[in-house]
């Protein structure tokens, strides 16, 4: 029976269209709806499926962030995770620092499987899982669209540019999730109430004894250059004419 660690991130909800601050200092996130990063939600769902199939014994959630991230941990507990850990820091989280924090946590928790999203939809880095696997010196299976556990081995189908790649990895391993792995469940009210009683521990990032200094400086953030306004045509023939005039046909 596996112990599964699921790492999640609190991000601006994917349905919210963010705006860049006029002074270029960043993206205005104050007051916006926040959610579990959608790929991480898929990771939680997959861990819960393993538990329901009798392959996992315990599902532990972890996030690295400020105290507001407890909301997303509670949501994950309401989905069905057993307990949660907040590794608390007020500093912005960089993938390498998160990977180091998770690596330190693994020493304490000793999971057989670490599941997390393939990328966070705010900074779009897509790095944390791979970095964790490197620091842990364990296998990585990124962009997973299918996960089958067979004893001490996992067979993972990965969504790659050329199609679907199947690999076998020995456990423990890191698996990052892609969109088609599963459809996360909706949380029902009784579960939300029950989740309030589940254990949620807070651990300062500084207590892990890792180098948490940021390496990348975001100097400024700008809105993307807009595209020029387009034209409307009334028929397929006009469309072909318009493309010829533009020299693309």
């Amino acid at each position: 029976m596996l112990k599964v660690l699921v790492a999640i991130k609190r991000v601006v909800d994917y349905n919210v269209r963010v705006r860049v601050k006029p002074d270029g200092s960043g993206v205005a996130v104050e007051g916006l709806k926040m959610s579990i990063n959608p790929f991480d939600e898929i990771a939680i769902e997959e861990a819960l499926k393993l538990k329901e199939r009798g392959q996992a014994a315990e599902v532990v959630l972890v996030t690295v962030g400020d105290s507001d991230a407890q909301q997303q941990l509670r949501t994950g507990l309401a989905m069905g995770a057993d307990r949660a850990l907040l590794i608390e820091t007020k500093a912005p989280t960089e993938p390498l620092v998160v990977a180091r924090a998770l690596r330190a946590l693994i020493e304490r928790e000793r999971p057989d499987l670490v599941l997390l999203g393939k990328q966070a939809i705010d900074d779009d880095h897509a790095q944390t899982g791979q970095m964790l696997a490197a620091l842990w010196d364990r296998p990585q299976a990124t962009f997973a669209s299918r996960l089958e556990i067979d004893g001490a081995r996992a067979r993972v189908t990965r969504e790659v540019d050329a199609g679907l790649e199947v690999i076998d990895v020995d456990l423990p391993a890191v698996v990052t999730t892609d969109l088609r792995l599963n459809q996360p469940r909706y949380v029902k009210l009784p579960e939300i109430l029950k989740a309030k009683k589940k254990p949620l521990d807070v651990l300062p990032l500084s207590s892990l004894g890792i180098d948490a200094s940021p390496r990348l400086v975001v100097e400024r953030v700008d809105a993307p250059a807009p595209r020029a306004r387009g034209i409307r045509v009334q028929s397929a023939a006009e469309l072909v004419d318009a493309l010829r005039q533009r020299g693309v046909l």
Partner: protein, 315 residues
């Protein structure tokens, strides 16, 4: 002085088109660009890399096992000393591999470089391309980065091929990760990532059978075929055709979106196309905000009309 090590991506024994784009980005960072090719002995990929403009040397590591991240990363780390930068493509190959390299080196990674301001300052998209961040990395350690392929034109051909140095691997692949198989459905069509024309369909097409009608249009245009996430999720086509934030980010000369409403996540994948055409029954679909040429029409009518109009025009 900056020296860049570009990690080549291979498709079998051939060089993937992503490598020439990485070389173009690397040239903006340094004049000394070395390409590392991991391919079997005698593979054409090494000579193809040596023929790219701006490459000063190719290191061909004779690599016979599958190019898995867990195997390649330690080998790349062994090549990295002496280089200020290690660059790879932001394809699924590079996205899988480069963060593993960065962590082994003990540095962060700059993902999806879209422009180089100086060797340690870059622009990269965040929030699905709805914002562009200018990031600075420390200049006192190796810089690991992936290159956003849609932002770069491929490097051209060199007048003289660069020298090729052949090496044996200095590390042995770990046994904990094993390649089983690759299932590909792209067939003989133009490659979606690099095609100059792309025809893509969305949920409105309604079925896998209807989607095949798009292939006729793609053939008439000499285009590759793509799809929205909704079309892939609905099972109309395979995942490797998905265009968008989490699929392929492409920059063709012509992109024709048919029955695609234009979710932000999809628009992220096509923003850099030279000309965007949208055909959709819903006049208020967000795809029209980004389209250069829009036609409000049902796909079932518009696609055959368009094929006929293209045939007439080519006569």
């Amino acid at each position: 002085m900056a020296r860049v090590l570009v990690i080549a991506e291979c498709s079998g024994e051939r060089l993937n088109a992503s490598t020439a784009k990485c070389v173009a980005c690397a040239r903006e960072i340094a004049s000394d660009v070395v390409v590392a090719v991991f391919a079997p002995r005698g593979a054409e990929a090494a000579a193809e890399a040596a023929a790219l403009e701006g490459v000063s040397r190719v290191v061909h590591v004779e690599w016979s096992s599958p190019p898995l991240a867990a195997s390649l990363a330690p080998e790349i780390v062994s090549l990295a000393p002496g280089f200020t930068h290690v660059l790879g493509p932001s394809s699924t190959f590079g996205k899988d591999l480069l963060p593993r390299v960065a962590a082994l080196v003990g540095v962060g990674q700059v993902s999806d470089v879209m422009s180089v301001l100086d060797p340690y300052r870059f622009k990269r998209p965040i929030y699905a391309g709805n914002a562009i961040a200018t990031v600075r990395a420390p200049s006192d350690s190796t810089l690991v980065a992936t290159v956003r392929l849609a932002s770069y034109a491929a490097a051209g051909s060199a007048a003289q091929p660069a020298p090729i140095e052949i090496r044996s691997p200095s590390t042995s692949p770990p046994s904990h990760t094993r390649f089983v198989e690759l299932r590909s459905e792209q067939g003989n069509r133009p490659d979606l990532q690099t095609a100059s024309r792309v025809v893509a369909g969305g949920r409105a097409l309604g079925s896998a059978e209807n989607f095949t009608r798009l292939y006729e249009l793609a053939d008439a245009l000499g285009a590759a075929v793509g799809a929205s996430r909704a079309a892939v999720d609905s099972g109309f086509v395979a995942n490797d055709l998905q265009v968008g934030q989490t699929g392929k980010i492409i920059a063709p000369e012509l992109y024709v979106a048919i029955g695609i409403s234009g979710a932000i996540q999809h628009l992220t994948g096509i923003k850099d196309a030279r000309t965007i055409v949208a055909i959709n029954r819903d006049a208020d679909a967000p795809i029209f905000e980004i389209a250069d040429v829009g036609l409000v029409a049902d796909w079932a009518q518009a696609v055959p009309d368009l094929i006929a109009a293209l045939r007439t025009a080519s006569r």
